[in-house]
Structure formats: C-alpha cells, structure tokens
Symmetry: C2
Subunit: 416 residues, 2 copies
C-alpha cells in the first residue's frame, strides 16, 4: 500500500512551509554576487589559531570526557565561566546553576515555544522581527501579535493599546519576544527607559519577556545598555545569548539564563529533544573563555564590524538617491533601509539579483507581511571593497526602480 503521509502528519507539520527567504538565500551564493542578504558573521573574524589551541588543550586535559555523553544542562565549568562573565559584563545577577547550555540560541527559542506555547496561544513580538524566532514559535501553532518598533526600540504606547485590546477579548499573551540590543533586522537598540518600562508592563499584565541578545557584545561606540535581564528581580525574563557571533556559529553553542523553575522545564524539554549539547565544542568554548581569549576576540570583531558599518553607511550616503531612510546601528550586523512607499522591494529583488547584489526583503520580518518598501542589509559578511561596490549597484537598482515606479503610477495623496 502506498503511504498516505498527509494523513499522518501532525497539524504542526502541515503548517511547516519552506521559507521563501531561506530558499532565496541559496541564489545569493552564486559567484559574483555581493550578498547583503545572509546574517553570517565574517569568516575573517574566526579566531582559527586560538580555536586550534583550545582544541589541543582539550585533547591534553580531558579528551575522554569531551567525547562522551554530557549532562543535559551543559558542561559545569563552561556554565561557571559564562555566569561570571554575565555578572561582570551584563550586570546579570546569576550563578552557574542559573544558566544552561543550548545548541545555539535558536534551540533556546524552540524550547521556549515547546514549554510555553499551546496551539492558539498568543505571544507578542516587536516588528520587524528575527525570522528564526517567528519560525520557532509558529512551529508550535501559536498566534503572533506584532508590536511596532521605533527609534527607542519599542512603541510602548502601541504595546499598551494592544494589551488592552487583547485583554478585552480575554487573550493573555504568554510572552513578548524582543532583541533589545542592535536588533535583527533593524539594527535599533531599546533605550534604558523603555527596557524598564517593558519590564513594568510585563509585570502588570503577567507575561514573560524572552530577551534574545546575540549581538550585545558587538558594540561600536558608547557604553552598552544592560540587558532587561539585569533589572529582573522576579524571574520574569528568559535571557538567551550565543557563541555564534563571538566565537563561531559552526559550534552551535548558546545559553539561557532564567529562574530556577523555568530553567528546569527548559532542561527537561532539551533532554527529550537532543539529550545534550555537543560536548566537545563545550570544552573548546570553555578553554576559549577561561583562557581569556574571548575579550580580545570581541575587541577584534568590534573594530572589524565598525569599519564595515562605516563603509556601508558612508556608501549609502554617497550613492543612494534622496527620499530613502536608514538606521544607524551602534553595533551588531544589520542596517534597515526604508524606501519610498511606491517601491516594492519584493519586486525589486529580482532586478537587484540581475545586477549581482542581494538583500532580504523587509516583508520577511513581519509575521503577516506588512512592509513592502523596506529591506535588511548585512554588513558583517562582505569584505570592505565589496560593501562599497554592492551599495553602488544597489543604488543604481533603486534609482531605476524609483524612476520606473513613479512613471508607471502617478503619485496619489493618501486618503484619496
């Protein structure tokens, strides 16, 4: 009998669809293409020799345990040095038992979904939002409510209005998802005041805050604002970060800081999911942090990425036509571009590809698709020469598109 597999899938699986964006990213790998599309760290930034040294040390010190199964919560000594670092650099009051190791912070988000989202539950996210988080949460059939961002990181008034509206219909969101520092995709940072305000509102409406902080170490100027978790005395914030941007994404290492009871649930979820995180890589990461290499390395990355950001921003200023807005990220890996409303970056995408330059359409970062005239540009991956050349190409595509779209559709004032 032929397998009737459609009948056998879970409701979850029926909803899983290939992300168009991830499919498009494959095209952007073609030779000659300058891609601002991916979210990859610069390979120039990988501390190859240091990693080799940390591996050799692991072989000398404890290789048999590094190759064996490990505890679900992660390597004790790695949790220890991370907790210390979180205390010192992030002002998060935590010990090693407040923290556990995940297979990248994507797994942390997926475990949050497993442990908090029933079908038809509601969660909030600031938008535009990180694509991977939307995927992790929608895999568990939850409803998403979008809260717009502004230059303070979140539109607090809109958040309040939405919460009141939801409350009137008996909907109590489980959590809000946010990347408060150098956000992906916008590059924006939530102000100190808004961080505290968000925590107050979360307490008022009794929902959790899922704080995703992959870019916090990559600041280019000024003193970094502490994460929301630093102000959390009630266990309301689930904080997650990753080694992907400060060591190497190929090691798939992240961590979570949360209250004791939430941590226990997430760890049980992880045990059912993959038993434990790659033990060998945890040993290498321990040697890397413990050996004091991380501090030097983030310094190197900051310099490297600041230069890349500067080149991208100055090229944008130099080549882009008038009428275009962009964010000025003080860290991280992304710039967010807002084009005139007439331009649909989805349509323009193919023309950009033809000119061998790629971006991600802004639309992809909205759960329901709401924003067709924006795009995300990544500045960490391309080398310096390519950044200028790519922006130049993109500027030409935009100019052409502005010309064509205005010619085709005459301007109609809003409200008409």
């Amino acid at each position: 009998m032929v397998v009737n597999v459609e009948r056998l899938y879970s409701r979850r699986a029926k909803k899983l669809r290939a992300s168009e964006i991830r499919e498009l990213l494959k095209i952007t790998q073609l030779p000659g293409m300058i891609s601002f599309a991916g979210g990859l760290p610069s390979p120039e930034a990988f501390p190859v020799d240091i990693i080799h040294k940390c591996i050799d040390r692991t072989f000398t010190k404890d290789i048999k345990n590094a190759l064996q199964y490990g505890a679900t919560e992660g390597l004790t000594q790695l949790r220890g040095v991370l907790a210390e670092r979180m205390k010192e650099k992030k002002q998060i009051n935590c010990e090693s038992h407040d923290l556990f190791i995940t297979s990248g912070s994507q797994q942390a988000l997926s475990l949050v979904a497993l442990c908090f989202l029933d079908p038809a539950d509601t969660y909030l996210t600031t938008v535009p939002a990180y694509l991977g988080a939307l995927q992790a949460f929608s895999a568990y059939e939850a409803n998403c409510e979008s809260i717009p961002m502004n230059s303070d990181g979140i539109d607090i008034d809109s958040l309040r209005r939405n919460l009141e509206r939801l409350s009137r219909t008996g909907i109590h969101p489980k959590f809000i998802y946010t990347v408060p520092t150098f956000q992906n995709p916008s590059g924006e940072t939530m102000s100190l005041h808004h961080r505290k305000e968000l925590l107050k509102i979360a307490s008022e409406y009794d929902f959790l805050i899922v704080e995703d902080d992959p870019y916090g170490e990559l600041y280019f100027e000024g003193k970094p604002i502490p994460p929301i978790k630093a102000f959390d005395t009630k266990g309301r914030v689930i904080y997650t970060s990753t080694f992907s941007k400060i060591l190497a994404p190929g090691f798939r290492l992240g961590w979570v800081i949360a209250s004791k009871e939430i941590l226990e649930k997430l760890i049980l979820g992880k045990q059912a999911t993959d038993l434990c995180t790659n033990v060998f890589s945890q040993y290498v990461a321990y040697e890397y942090v413990h050996g004091g290499y991380l501090d030097k390395q983030v310094e190197t990355i900051r310099h490297l990425y600041k230069k890349k950001r500067d080149i991208m921003l100055s090229s944008i200023k130099k080549y882009f036509p008038k009428g275009i807005q962009w964010t000025v990220p003080r860290g991280g890996m992304f710039v967010w571009i807002t084009l005139p409303r007439k331009i649909d970056t989805r349509i323009m995408f193919q023309k950009a590809l033809a000119q061998k330059v790629a971006y991600v359409v802004g639309d992809a970062f909205y759960p329901d698709g709401m924003n067709y005239s924006s795009m995300r540009l990544n500045f960490s991956y391309s080398d310096n020469t390519n950044i200028e050349e790519g922006i130049k190409r993109l500027a030409e595509v935009i100019k052409q598109e502005m010309k064509t779209s205005y010619e085709q559709e005459p301007f109609v004032p809003e409200g008409v």
Copy 2:
C-alpha cells in the same frame, strides 16, 4: 508582581517530569560504584588519535566553512559518504539526498514526534522500550500502545490483536517505534521473517515504522540481518542511526533516511528547532568516514564489546542463583535479566547501591510500568575486571533478596 509561571506553561511542559531513572543515574557515578546502569560506550573505544588527525585535516582543508553556519540538512560530503555506506553495509537503497544529519538520533526521534504526533494521537512501541524514545514522544502528548517483544524481536500475534482492537475503536496509530537490532534495553534482535512481517502489517494498517538502529554495526557473531529499511520500497520506514556508538557521543551526530516528502518535513522541523547541526563535528565525521577509519574502528569496538559481553555472561552463569533468565545478545551493549516474579528490582535497587553495584530497573522501560522483576545491565562501559566483580556483587544482592522475599511471602501458586 510575582510570576505565575504555572499558568504560562504549555500543556506539554506541565507533563514534562524529571525522569527518576536519570536522577538515579547520577548516584551511580559515586566512587567505588560498579555501574551497569548507564548506556555509555566505552571510553577505551574512543579513537582519540584518529579524531585528532581528522580535526587537523579539517583545519588544513576547509576550516572557515567548518566554523560557519551550515545547511539544515547537513554537510553535503558527509551525507554522500554515509549514503554510500548505508547502501554497501545495510543494503538500503539511498543517495545523499535521501539522508540528512541530526544532532544525534535523539533529535531524529524528537523531530518525528514534532512532525507526526498531535495530542492524543497513538503510536506503538515494542516493550521494553528505549527510555529516550518514550521521552521524545511523550513530550508531544501522544498515547502509547505497548507491543511485547519475544525472542523473535516482536510478538506479531499481539501486534495484530492490538491493531484490531484499536481499529474497532477508530484509533489508527501513526507509527511503530522499534530498535530491531540488539535492542536497548533487551539486547534482542528481530528475525528477518518478523522484519518483513512487520512491514507487511504496517502497510496493511497504513502506519509508519520508525526504525532506530544505533547498535547495528556492533555485531559479535554471524552475519547481521539487514534493517527493515532495506526492504522498504514505499517510503514507509523512517530509519535513524548515530555516530554515538561508532565514533563518539560527544559529537552529537546522527542521521535519518526517509522518503523525500517526509525528509522535507523533518528538515523544516529541524530548521525551526536549531538551524543546523554542529558543522565542525560534521567535517570531522566526514574525514573519519572518508579516511576509511570507521571500518577499522567498528572492528575494534566489536572485539572489545564481545569480550565484555562474554565476561558478563560467563559471570552471570557462574555467580547468579538458579531461577534467573537472561538474554544472550549477539551484539550491542545490553543484557536483560528476568528475576523470579517475587523480586521487585525497584526495591532491590537501594540494596544493590549499598553493595556498590547499579543497574536500571526494568520497569523504567515500560510506558505504564508493567515489569517489576527485570533489569537492564550494560556491559560496554565497565572494564573487564569490574564486570566480573560487579556481577558477583549483584549475585549476592539477588541471593539475599530471593531469600528474604521468599521468607516474607510464602509462595502462592498462580490462579489462587
């Protein structure tokens, strides 16, 4: 406001409970303890120097890509060499695109649950069953129906009776979970005839077979029976295996072979779960298989474990009192012991610990707890001297328990 976290958990999370067994395993790590409890491969078997060589080769050849994000489906060249091996050694008709890489086979089981199990769905498993599979599936709120094993690996009559009973109440199981070769925990192997029979019945009732094959390479005698997947021409079998027993569990690498459409769903599930598997470890595993080390290594492990099994079985024969049954595994890592019905291995466990020997109570491997007089013994982890000494200790504990339990409760013939 204090967080009311109970209100926020998903139904799934409310059901997640710490496994007593896994907690007990921690006690078995105490110094002086001879533990037959864990399911760990022998650290003597880790090919440390070969792994170091494979790592150095990765650094020389393609280190920047090994440290970067990778494709969700896994490293192309690793999929290639694995598919070749599966064709040659397992008679599974597959190409690299029929196979994808997971973070250990535990993740494969978890992805099967994500993609096939809605709450209250039913799956089947042979019992006693691998604990981790039960955890992976129960995390998705499914109902489990137990099918007893026999020395042919599965009680086919019971399977038919159960399917008819379920069918009468309108229940159509999504899949059956089975470890047909050197099963964990029983050590039993499903006969060729029963493999084909199971496939026939699965086709008749239109459910899938989830075939977990972590131990298939570890045969000690005779020619290994091909996996059920080798006879599957309709895409009815989801086959999974792992590097944990033939390289190192610390690398967390497994793979899945399934039909194109099922593979696509599982890969989408994985993307939402953790983006991709540890890339660096995939490169190392590729060098390991491609370099021809795997064949030599499994040969070494077979010799090592056969010796350990022989010592365990001859010690059992020598020291255990009469009235006890045990399996004679032709491969793998486990022996299953059945004691007289009067003995409750859960009660005896504390007494064994006091004598510094540990096992896993048989009860743990039954979804509803059904078997109190059995136990699982692992022979791969302990060294040879400890195996004999541990069995000697265990024999004393059993003798004492038989004496006590018979003294306390006089024998009552069945049916009275």
